[in-house]
Amino acid sequence: MPETPSPRLPEPDRPWMMRTYAGHSDAKRSNELYRRNLEKGQTGLSVAFDLPTQTGYDPDHELARGEVGKVGVSIAHAGDMRTLLDGIPLDQMNTSMTINATAAWLLALYVVAAEEHGIAAAKLQGTTQNDILKEYLSRGTYSFPPGPSMRLIADTIAYTVENVPKWNPINICSYHLQEAGATPVQEIAYAISNAIAVLDAVRDRVPQELMGSVFGRISFFVNAGVRFVEEHAKLRAMSELWDELGRDRYDVQDEKHRRFRYGVQVNSLGLTEAQPENNVYRIALEALAVTLGRNVRARAIQLPAWNEALGLPRPWDQQWSLRLQQVLAYETDLLEYPDVFEGSKVMEGLVADLVGGARQEMARVAELGGAVEAVDYMKAALVESHRERWRRIESGEHTVVGMNRFTSTEPSPLTADADGGILVVDPAVEAERREALQRWRAERDQPAVDSALRELARVAQTDDENIMPATIAAARAGATTGEWAQTLREVFGEYRAPTGVGEAAAVPSEDVSELRDEVERVSEALGRRMKFLVGKPGLDGHSNGAEQIAVRARDAGMDVVYEGIRLTPAQIAGSAAQEGVHVVGLSILSGSHAELIPSVIQALNDAGAGDIPVVVGGIIPEADAAALREAGVAAVYTPKDWDLNRMMRDIIGLVADQLDDSGAGHLGEAGRRAAGMPEGVDTAAPA
């Protein structure tokens, strides 16, 4: 045996940056939360914005209703940003902002807030997520069509590379692809293809000699699931492909510029509502996936809270997750060694497999014309993978402890608190924010704002001018988030992303055979095929659940109307009435169910379709579920209702009940009334 040198590093590594994805209500409350988090040993900030801010609407816009301050902080203008960052040393802080469609705007607000403190843009460190393709594919907070969106991204990159050089202008997100059901191969391939689309767009807008720096500023935001060995291999595969891409496609000479840099939020998709305490173990194992091997260790980590499948986590829940990072970094010996996987045959083999698979998938995307052109293809592939994953859970092939196996449990003391173990945002916040915005508008120099927005529109209409200077000027003048976005919407137009459900493969017949018989029987009695509207009201763009429901309902034999995300209650009610559906299913994951669901029910009544039964799915605490049932919702489903076939059986039953009640086909009270028919048009002709 040859003598081996000490396996330890001469000096332990410095820990990664520790963050907590946080923010709620308004700037003041979030600022207090950030200061407390920093006192606890958090080393960077990760700002969660609410959905109106993310999609470019002011708190007083119709689409913002029920969403203001809900999943993050509401930031409407430079004054809000100033309050948010009050007392935080911006020349030392590293701030990550989960912001995409409106990234250019929030970056401008950040630059202006720093400027007010006399801190030069060149000193600022942080990240704007700024990745639009994954918004089309998974997360849903896009605003503009693909072309103009890619231009905004290219503009922010071109601007920061020269003016805010320590900023990461984009975080290419593979995170949300996994949340949407991506396999490791898909996660790698689509993320790198996405990066290629971005880099190609920037190449047209910066001098060639800057491309090395541009490449070096591109970072990734990845996911890590509980299969942590393979997940670690995935990161090594990405690192390999990234290095090769820089060298071969963009001629990046400096090796440092080609280094694969990423931050991480570990998997939320696999967290369960059943026995939620088990999630702590899952999160810990997932954290190992991104820290174990030194060569591809994460630069920044934020961990979800144990109770994410129940609702919004409280500060204590987030503290518990931060402590996990601290135990890993400061108590274990993790940081004392070089890469522990180097030379591992298993790891090499896994990486080679993943690289090979990813290359094939990247070639398909390239054949379709690149990631922007291939959005439809990738979306359909993700919906399909997610469907397959769910099928394996339902069939028991894939074990989820506490959910489809080992389900008997003692009552959990963790969820026994009065608030059920989650954060509830004060419903008064929305009204406060609306009033504060009115004051802001009344006190600002309106002609200066008008002129700044006119200039913004002019620049947007050009092909080659960078959007950032006009955006920063509008921020300084006091324009609002909604005004900035509306100006661009008028120039760029709006966009609806593909739903991806049309191409999803059917589940095996034997799994849904009984359901099909039921649907046939009920349809026969109805006189026409049972028709189901799946709707996503409000700004929440997390459509993965709604998509799986739509696909399963089709497989059960229903005609399914699914229109994608971001619909107003009036739009959903209008569709339900025009389409003559027999039942409506609504999905909301942002926690705004208490406001939005009653609005949809009201709108259905207004549209004369109040007799159509409504079911709701989402992250809905039991107290809220009771209130929704009180308001007329027929059934409420939460993540613990993972058996889709059982849900389908309920829904078919609801429609059948209506038949029994009326003793006739369900034409709809409205339909009959409007048609002047007391009964019977839709009458079944029972055989």
Binding site: P145, G502, D555, D559, E563, A675
Partner: protein
């Protein structure tokens, strides 16, 4: 329940008065299959027939068809907006294929049609083809005939490349086939006669640039080479990506086709084919009903001798339904 033709006549009267709020009930009725509903549908169609109206229904019935992914629904969204801008009311009947296995369907095209929920002048209804071949849902013809009395424009949107969705030609006054640049298969289908020659050929996605110009030229040349009838086909280039281009020209072109058309002759031909298609379908459906429906029939077949040939099985089915 008693079938009350009076109700259907009342619906017909509302359509004749151009009461657009009748549309959902009309669709619920014509899509229903029971005996009572069928009697009422017949009564409704009689109430809006050329005989009752003293002429053809006034709407322009437009068929919009093309292969998946060509951007039909985005184009339709632009078209609907343009028609509304010209103050015309629009009903869209969007037809999606059903799954052969489950009988269910995902009706997704609504998703891309932008609309104001307060605008009563735009009605969208999605339906599935069910068992039926030919590209239309079982009730599409009846729905188009009824809505054509109340709306200014009735659009029938179907998916396909011109092979199986032949029925739309019988129902629509004007058929527009949508293709995108680089779709050589359409040229082949046209030349070989697999695809019927459309009234208007729309080249979408012209934002793709030079290839779109080439596609338009290629299609024009191909059509001319097919003889005088095909040479009349208008080729329009559009882009439905924001802000859109060529949409107003497309509407003008559709209008011109309709103005030059012998409408009564085309509608008459359509009604005769409609009757024949319904007759054919009804005979098949009646047989299936006698067997207790498709799934029941499949189950019964599964109990038969696995070595039976098709002719034997068919004879057995005939005997069973007799």
């Amino acid at each position: 329940m008693s079938a009350a033709p009076a109700d259907a006549e009342q619906l017909g009267a509302r359509l004749r008065e151009r009461d657009l709020t009748a549309a959902p009930s009309v669709l619920n009725l014509v899509e229903s299959r029971g005996e009572a509903a069928r009697a009422q549908t017949a009564a409704l169609l009689a109430a809006v027939s050329p005989a009752a109206l003293g002429g053809e229904a006034p709407a322009h019935i437009v068929g919009v068809t093309g292969p998946p992914g060509v951007g039909k629904s985005t184009l339709l969204s632009r078209l609907a907006a343009e028609w509304r801008r010209r103050d015309r009311t629009v009903a869209v009947l969007a037809v999606d294929p059903s799954s052969r296995r489950s009988g269910g369907a995902l009706l997704g095209d609504r998703a891309r049609i932008e609309r104001d929920p307060d605008d009563m002048g735009l009605f969208i209804r999605s339906s599935a083809t069910g068992d039926r071949l030919g590209g239309l849902a079982p009730a599409t013809r009846a729905a188009a005939a009824a809505l054509a009395v109340a709306f200014d424009v009735v659009v029938i949107e179907t998916v396909g490349v011109g092979q199986s969705e032949t029925e739309v030609v019988d129902v629509a006054d004007t058929v527009a086939v949508v293709v995108q640049p680089g779709s050589g298969d359409v040229l082949q289908f046209l030349k070989s006669g697999i695809m019927e020659i459309p009234d208007v050929l729309v080249v979408n996605k012209t934002d793709l640039g030079a290839s779109a110009v080439r596609a338009r030229a290629d299609l024009g040349a191909a059509l001319r080479s097919l003889g005088p009838t095909a040479a009349d086909t208008a080729v329009v280039a559009v882009s439905s990506l924001s802000p859109g281009s060529g949409i107003a020209e497309l509407v003008d072109t559709l209008d011109e086709h309709r103005a030059a058309l012998d409408l009564p002759a085309r509608r008459l031909r359509g009604r005769r084919r409609h009757a024949l298609a319904d007759f054919t379908a009804e005979h098949g459906q009646r047989g299936l009903r006698a067997l207790g429906g498709r799934r029941e029939a499949e189950r019964w077949l599964a109990t038969q001798d696995p070595s039976s040939d098709v002719a034997t099985l068919q004879r057995a089915l005939e005997e069973r339904c007799a």
